[in-house]
């Protein structure tokens, strides 16, 4: 099948997955102003921001003769569960016939999940599928491991140099064929990063910020105003609540230990029931970040996102009880870079000032 998918985070992972399964993969374009404008124009006005971005990406792909678009589903009362159907309708109304294959979590419906995988596996045997998934999972882990290092080192080194290494790493990873090569490339870049590690100060002088929120705006730097780089710029390390490995663990692999659930369960203290999206999990992650000694939380909320609106409303209580500052930023196509920068900078200044008083 000739297929594509929405752009989110390290796209090489999905591309590799479908490529190894023998599909003809069209790389989706990275969201930019044009795509976002396109998406906003053809999406319902009240839809949440990630929906609009994805509409834009799909429309941009329409001249590529695709057989299908593969995307993930959502569960609970979050609107992400309807994305597939609504996108299909929008594309149809605009005269584009394309199938949208939605991968829902196997934990919701084991059978349906297998049906979908059966379609996607094409002519590959089930054992091959097992092997491919393993390679892709290894790849994701390697990428996430390097990215987590990048998110620390960029705080203490020239941002351009570190960014360049990260971009090169992603390019190199795209060429891999087996797990041995993944390891090789991973080590190559970890080695390159080692010489920067001397710049990390002693533990007491390190400041760490946890980024939580709706998965799409947390994972996709091109629509979240490169929030991680902004935080890094002021000498703060970052870590996200969402990495692709987490998503795969939750949504694609039935055999992985679901220890993330333990973190997410902590969220029940503030949001008792699952309300869709990652609201409950995010609260859990916020508490977990505090327990791991983080100094602050940045909460990203797409405009029009219901679950994150609920989690925003409990942030004040959480912040007070756990004594951790929280900054909520609402993101949509109207978000201006300067506004985000001002808020992030003031937030980080505040955290730093708390820890020392200078003589005037």
């Amino acid at each position: 099948m000739r297929l594509s998918f929405p752009y989110m985070g390290p796209t090489i992972v999905y591309a590799k997955l479908f490529e190894l399964l023998g599909h003809d993969v069209v790389m989706p374009p990275k969201p930019d102003k044009e795509i976002i404008d396109l998406g906003v124009k053809y999406s319902p006005e009240f839809a949440c921001f990630p929906f609009k971005v994805i509409t834009g990406i799909y429309l941009k792909l329409m001249d590529k003769n695709l057989d299908a678009l593969v995307t993930s589903g959502g569960h609970g009362p979050c609107r992400a569960g309807y994305y597939g159907e609504v996108h299909k309708k929008i594309l149809q109304d605009l005269g584009h016939e394309v199938e949208i294959i939605v991968i829902d979590s196997p934990h919701d419906d084991y059978k349906y999940f297998y049906e979908v995988i059966k379609r996607l596996k094409g002519d590959s045997s089930w054992l091959q599928v097992g092997r491919v998934i393993k390679i892709v999972y290894e790849l994701t882990k390697a990428l996430d491991e390097i990215e987590k290092k990048i998110e620390i080192l960029r705080a203490y080194n020239d941002k351009g140099t570190i960014n360049k290494l990260w971009m090169q790493a992603q390019e190199d990873f795209y060429q891999i064929k087996n797990t041995a090569e993944i390891k090789e490339i991973k080590n190559k870049y970890l080695n390159k990063l080692i010489k920067f590690e001397d710049s990390i100060p002693v533990e007491a002088e390190r400041y760490k910020i946890g980024i939580i929120g709706e998965i799409y705006v947390v994972m996709e730097e091109s629509i979240n105003n490169q929030i991680e780089e902004k935080v890094n710029r002021f000498g703060f390390e970052v870590e996200r609540s969402q990495y692709l490995t987490n998503w795969i663990r939750e949504n694609a692999f039935p055999f992985l230990d679901r220890d993330l659930e333990k973190i997410e369960k902590k969220g029940e203290e503030f949001i008792e029931i699952g309300i869709g999206g990652h609201a409950q999990g995010n609260i859990g992650h916020a508490i977990n970040f505090k327990e791991e000694g983080f100094d602050g939380i940045i909460h990203l909320k797409p405009f029009g996102c219901l679950p994150e609106l609920v989690s925003q409303s409990v942030m004040d209580d959480l912040s007070e009880k756990y004594e951790i500052p929280v900054l909520t930023i609402s993101i949509d196509e109207q978000t201006a870079d300067a506004n985000v920068l001002t808020r992030v900078e003031a937030f980080l200044d505040m955290i730093r000032e708390k820890n020392y008083r200078e003589v005037m």
Binding site: P29, W126, K141, G160, K183, N187, L256, D257, P325, S330
Partner: protein, 396 residues
């Protein structure tokens, strides 16, 4: 020769320039409306500063820039400190009022709430949606009612009756205002209603469920409006203090921060000197198409010489500014050497890394082996059943 520290606040509505001395005393103060050309206004401001004070007695030892237009002006001036307006406002406020607990700051296009404990900002909020609750909102309504903004606040105090005006959005407020005028409410009453709407908005959007504590400081351009001050006092039931230099607090704060930074680093100020008032500045931008990031790269040019390049994420264009090819070559040469020595030890490192990352993996990404086996078995069975089905089909 006394040290002088410049503070420049490039706001959306006003541009403020101050100069403070070593004792934080205000030596120069300028508040001008931002008519849309910040570089020219800053140049004029500096020229005025040069006229008003005897520069022979002073040395510019530090420059700080804040406000939404801070990035560009920082390059133009050669600023030592570039910081957001929240930090700057908090700094000035807590200096003049060490007992401050809550700072209300309402400027042209944004409003802020800063919560202070023991002289340190511990929490803040900034308007998220739109102009409602900012100076622009009042400006617009004043114009609409034909009242100069300077008299706006005083008029509100003359109101006899209360009138509730919908203040969530500028446009809706306007239609509500027109309709209330039909009921025979006077101008002062309408203005009072608008002031209350602004404060109500501020309370709902920024303060939310926070507990506020005194002293209450009210600053920013809107603090000149005694109507709003009165509305705040009524809302919180306590006295609100408007500092003497409420309109330039951001500029004072950033000048103080510049002083601190220069002292801490012990370096000379990077101020580009008063000659810059004679220079022509220009900014250009282009989209770099080297990769999918499509960074918007901005160049700042002074008298046809590029003084700053910014916006690229990989550092390609920023590095081009350094332009000192010899220095670059040196860096590259040494890094090559490093790589060679690195290659020698890399094998051992690789082993260590493998070990390390395996441990990390084992801890981070636990795989339930039993479950994995079971799933693989299920997969095999599935495959078999698929094959059986195919055979069935062929029989049919």
């Amino acid at each position: 020769m006394n040290n002088l520290y410049l503070g420049v606040d490039i706001g959306s509505v006003s541009i403020n320039i101050v100069a403070i001395d070593e004792e934080n005393e205000l030596v120069f103060k300028l508040y001008t409306r931002n008519s849309g050309n910040p570089i020219e206004l800053v140049k004029e401001g500096l020229a005025k500063l040069r006229e008003e004070i005897e520069l022979e007695n002073y040395k510019i030892s530090g420059v700080g820039v804040t406000g939404s237009g801070r990035q560009l002006i920082a390059y133009v001036l050669g600023a030592d400190t570039v910081k957001n307006e929240i930090t700057a406002h908090a700094r000035a406020s807590t200096y003049y009022h060490p007992e401050a607990g809550t700072i209300f700051e309402i400027g042209g296009q944004d409003s802020k709430l800063i919560i202070v404990e023991d002289g340190i900002a511990v929490d803040f909020a900034m308007n998220t949606v739109c102009a409602a609750g900012t100076g622009s909102f009042l400006d617009h309504q004043a114009e609409r009612l034909g009242v100069p903004i300077e008299e706006f606040g005083g008029l509100a105090l003359e109101a006899d009756r209360d009138v509730r005006i919908a203040g969530r959005c500028t446009v809706f407020a306007e239609s509500d205002m027109i309709s209330k005028q039909q009921y025979g409410f006077t101008k002062p009453e309408i203005i009072n209603g608008l002031s209350e709407a602004l404060v109500r908005n501020y309370m709902n959007n920024l303060v939310r469920n926070r507990v506020l504590e005194g002293e209450y400081i009210f600053q920013g351009g809107v603090a000149a409006n005694i109507g709003i001050k009165a509305a705040f006092e009524e809302e919180i039931g306590a006295e609100v203090i408007v500092p003497e230099h409420h309109d330039v607090m951001g500029a004072i704060g950033i000048a103080m921060l510049a002083k601190r930074d220069v002292k801490r680093s012990g370096q000379e100020s990077s101020f580009r000197g008063f000659d810059l008032t004679e220079q022509e500045f220009e900014t250009t931008s282009f989209e770099c198409e080297d990769c999918a990031n499509n960074c918007e790269v901005i160049k700042v040019i002074a008298d046809s010489k590029v003084i700053a390049v910014t916006g690229d994420r990989c550092g390609k264009w920023t590095a081009s500014l350094i332009g000192d090819s010899a220095a670059n070559a040196n860096v590259e040469g040494s890094s090559e050497k490093e790589e060679k020595t690195a290659a020698k030890s890399s094998k051992k490192q690789d082993e260590d890394l493998n070990k390390n990352s395996e441990e990390l993996e084992a801890n981070l990404y636990k795989v339930d082996l039993e479950k994995e086996k079971q799933v693989m078995k299920e997969l095999e069975e599935l495959e078999k059943s698929d094959e059986n089905k195919k055979e069935d089909n062929s029989l049919v």
